[in-house]
Symmetry: C2
């Protein structure tokens, strides 16, 4: 009753291949990335448009799930902090939350986005619109 | 290789018991809610503070996972829309994204928050800080 199965709905294609090379946050200089979705989800994607600001949720499959405290940003000069007060990929459920903008729709199953710091081949698990309220999520 | 197990790290305690009674978004008049975490995660929680703005990710266990298009907000006057352009709880991976503020820390495993529209007993799967960049997520 305490475990749920997440489906992979697509994957990130990015020039970022190693964690050490990736920016800590997407807005810190990530290269453009493409998200390739599985055909089963085409109807769910059909209303995404160029210029939309969206939240991508990913499954950070190269993260460690047994880490509860980290030095934020990997900086040993910052005291260890509980992971729920950080954006560390290492956490019990390694879900990445990325706010990005759709730069292009390459075909019905492929979108190009900017500001995505996820590594190449990272599984994508959800896409949500940014709400207008206050540019928040 | 395409499925991942999410762990439940805690639960929502809320007076909201039915989907029909819940606001569509947290900022549309949700009552205060308490999140009760499992003891295993106490170290990960230790640095949360009253006043922190956080993102709670939940597993919307009463949602339908086979829905790809919906009338946004359940309003049949709005054309059907792909779920990835909506915040519908019905979606392939029913992950809820809630931006809330910590109102009180009741004990090391219980926090009280405002603006959470999740139903009573909804599983919690992650907590992340709101980044300062632009009050975004």
């Amino acid at each position: 009753m305490n475990n749920y199965q997440v489906e992979c709905i697509g994957h990130v294609h990015s020039p970022l291949r190693e964690r050490a090379a990736a920016p800590k946050q997407g807005f810190e200089g990530s290269p453009p990335a493409t998200i390739v979705f599985a055909a089963a989800y085409s109807e769910a994607l059909a209303d995404l448009k160029v210029g939309d600001e969206i939240i991508i949720l990913t499954w950070l499959d190269r993260a460690k799930r047994d880490v509860l405290r980290v030095h934020p940003r990997g900086d040993t000069g910052i005291p260890v902090t509980g992971v729920f007060s950080t954006r560390s990929p290492d956490r019990p459920n390694p879900i990445g939350l990325h706010r990005v903008k759709i730069e292009a729709i390459l075909d019905p199953l492929q979108i190009q986005v900017c500001d995505l710091e996820a590594l190449d081949r990272t599984p994508v698990i959800d896409v949500k619109p940014v709400l207008k309220r206050s540019a928040d999520a």
